[in-house]
């Protein structure tokens, strides 16, 4: 009975809130419904409703997927300081980082599904997996593994809290120890997905995986800093400023490495001037009059550089106005650089030298917006129930027991 009651309590928690809460959920629902319509149209007509074609056979969906794997991987930036170095301010919020990882992986899986030509037969993956040869199979395994790991961690922490107990490190340790290398693995494998294709020189650079990791350690934490601030405004979750500034400091280092790696790649291409320069040229200056991606590239460059300058200076990054500006800049910068700025130039020019200008179609944009809205919706609900459980206000103990507990704690009146 207690379980049922508890579930009812959870449900009550989700359905109560102020006006802003419901407007927020309502807006997200509209975006999701709109995406559903787009998806149904795509199912009926095929991927022809997108702007992808044989020349550029992956587009906006896979770009978003690639970016979000980074966001998911970035949970380690909280896991390491909290469990390994016992940095208290971050330890208090590591749970919310893990919840973000869960959300991001779910979004990744949705983007992949949206990109499949025949999503209904996706189960073929498990009947005749081309393992270990196909890196895509590896990606399926590590992503789902990461989802399970983080779900377990979140569930266990909340489960303990709901029983009024501290979680036990004996159980957490293995999860944490596995999840740290695993987080790196998801992004490394995703990088190898591109990296291993000798037919696409833009991707076939050995620096790809390190670059992926470095940029993930910028965008994910930047998103966390923003989300945590909003969360502590609208709920009674406590996020210590120290935690936020620590994350900001880590972003500064990561961005430094990211820019250095990017610069190395740019140097190699432009100095050696081999024929493999073409995709890079397309990205920065346009190729034979095709300049579609050029403005995006420069926006990303400016965002990343400005963000980096702000993060570098402790004076600036410890003031919330500048910090938030920098986070938004880095988020946009990495979103472009790792998404469209990485996936598309791999296909341009195509293997027979054709230049096909790709920008997402309305269907691709609306469907992607829907998946992002799903992420926001899902994370909001997670926070909504996780915070009271975490703070001991919502518990698995029966109502009666809670009453008696409260009586117990009442100071005796003499």
């Amino acid at each position: 009975m207690t379980l049922l009651q508890f579930i009812r309590d959870l449900f009550k928690e989700i359905t109560k809130g102020n006006k802003a809460y419901f407007i927020w959920l309502g807006l997200l629902s509209i975006v999701m419904l709109n995406a559903l319509v787009s998806y149904i149209m795509q199912l009926n007509n095929g991927l022809i409703v997108t702007h992808m074609r044989d020349q550029v056979s992956w587009g906006f969906y896979i770009s978003n997927f690639t970016f979000l794997v980074g966001v998911a991987a970035a949970a380690v930036i909280l896991v390491i300081p909290s469990y390994i170095y016992h940095f208290k301010p971050i330890k208090e919020i590591v749970l919310f980082g893990e919840m973000m990882a869960v959300t991001a992986v779910l979004m990744c899986l949705m983007f992949i599904t949206a990109d499949l030509g025949k999503p209904l037969v996706a189960w073929h993956l498990f009947i005749t997996p081309n393992f270990p040869r196909s890196i895509l199979m590896w990606d399926v395994i590590v992503l789902n593994g990461y989802l399970i790991l983080n779900t377990l961690a979140v569930f266990y922490v909340l489960f303990s809290a709901a029983h009024g107990r501290e979680y036990k490190m004996v159980i957490m340790w293995p999860l944490v120890l596995i999840s740290i290398p695993w987080a790196f693995s998801i992004h490394t494998v995703t990088a190898f997905l591109y990296n291993g294709l000798s037919s696409r020189p833009f991707w076939n650079a050995s620096i790809t995986a390190p670059r992926f990791i470095a940029s993930a350690m910028c965008s994910g934490p930047a998103l966390m800093i923003l989300v945590f601030q909003v969360a502590r405004k609208v709920s009674d979750i406590v996020v210590n400023d120290k935690a936020i500034f620590k994350i900001a400091e880590l972003i500064a280092y990561a961005m430094g490495i990211n820019l250095f790696l990017y610069a190395s790649e740019i140097f190699k291409e432009f100095y050696s001037q081999s024929i493999h320069l073409a995709p890079m040229e397309y990205l920065f200056f346009g190729l034979k009059g095709h300049t579609l991606l050029v403005p995006f590239t420069w926006v990303a460059m400016v965002c990343n550089l400005t963000g980096f300058v702000i993060f570098m200076s402790p004076k600036l990054r410890n003031r919330f106005l500048f910090l938030n500006i920098a986070c938004v800049l880095v988020f946009i910068g990495v979103y472009i650089e790792k998404g469209m700025g990485f996936v598309i130039p791999g296909f341009v020019p195509d293997t027979l030298g054709e230049i096909y200008d790709y920008l997402p179609s309305y269907i691709e944009l609306s469907l992607s917006a829907g998946i992002w809205a799903f992420g926001a919706f899902f994370y909001t609900l997670l926070l909504k129930i996780a915070i009271p459980i975490y703070k001991g206000e919502l518990s698995f103990l029966s109502h009666n027991m809670r009453h008696s507990l409260r009586d117990l704690h009442k100071p005796a009146v003499h």
């Binding site: 149209m41 199912l43 095929g46 044989d54 499949l116 993956l125 399926v140 291993g196 293997t351 027979l352």
Partner: protein, 297 residues
């Protein structure tokens, strides 16, 4: 989109998920759970072929024969293309489209003929080529041509990356796709260095009176939306006994295209490889194409 249209789309969508239009539920069920071609025994192959033939008959009001001929023993197919003869007429492109029942709308073509201006960079850098040329007569003066199609790589990257093994290399060297098994992830397209794989972005359409009714399960049978397809050296022709030439070889008006068994030292293809100046495209990638370009003049 107005409301009625939306509801219609929504209804179609749900229908599209559960029952592809106009099919009997039983056959939908069967096709959904259809086994992987390579794991079917002879009886299962027969059943699937019977079901497919019935479906095609209903759809096109024509009997379409679906063969499942196995590879011929001691045969490894090789292809030769004489660059000094090719005039860029693209008869091969259209013969291939007709022979292999490629979708006309949206358009799918297996063969790309690249046009270069005399003196332009080529072979390693194809960027200066043009595939949308349209002269009055061919060959256009001061131009030369290089057709590209699936090279039937001996070490095909497309097969290596496919997560479901929906595409594989047959013992006779032909790289094939089980369209029903392909999930449409298009990873193989990213991996192929020759742009040889084509995706059915929309529902493929072929005018009924232009359908080639002699088909092979792994080749030119009518395709489905959302799956990848490619040149198979006309598997439906070359696996006959005696084998027939692929359609492109047969149609080429200048005899630029050669085809044969690489394991047979007497074959024309072997003689060409041994006596002419031969090269393969993008050798440095080590995909080891079985498609040889040569100069006879």
């Amino acid at each position: 989109m107005n409301r009625r249209n939306f509801l219609k789309t929504a209804a179609l969508g749900v229908g599209g998920i559960l029952l592809p239009a106009k099919d009997s539920p039983a056959s939908v069920w069967e096709s959904f759970f259809q086994k992987y071609y390579r794991e079917m025994n002879d009886k299962e192959k027969k059943d699937v072929v019977a079901r497919l033939e019935k479906e095609y008959e209903e759809k096109y009001k024509k009997h379409i024969k679906v063969k499942t001929n196995a590879p011929l023993p001691k045969v490894l197919y090789g292809y030769g293309l004489d660059l000094s003869r090719c005039v860029g007429c693209r008869r091969c492109v259209y013969a291939c489209v007709t022979e292999n029942n490629q979708s006309r709308n949206p358009q799918i073509q297996y063969i790309t003929v690249l046009q270069f201006e005399q003196g332009e960079k080529w072979v390693s850098d194809l960027e200066e080529s043009n595939k949308y040329y349209n002269p009055e007569t061919v060959p256009a003066p001061e131009h030369f041509y290089m057709p590209v199609q699936c090279q039937q790589c001996e070490k095909p990257p497309c097969v290596k990356v496919c997560p479901t093994q929906a595409t594989w290399k047959e013992p006779d060297g032909i790289v094939v796709v089980d369209y029903n098994w392909c999930i449409g992830c298009r990873y193989c397209m990213a991996a192929c260095p020759y742009n040889a794989r084509k995706f059915n972005w929309g529902e493929p359409t072929i005018p009924v009176d232009e359908i080639n009714t002699e088909t092979h399960y792994l080749g030119n049978r009518p395709r489905i939306k959302g799956a990848v397809e490619k040149c198979t050296f006309c598997i439906q022709r070359v696996r006959e006994n005696p084998g027939r030439y692929p359609a492109c070889v047969e149609v080429c008006p200048v005899g630029a295209r050669k085809f044969g068994n690489l394991l047979d030292p007497e074959s024309e293809i072997r003689v060409l490889i041994e006596t002419k100046r031969v090269f393969r495209l993008k050798e440095e990638l080590n995909t080891q194409p079985k498609f040889y370009y040569f100069f006879s003049l």
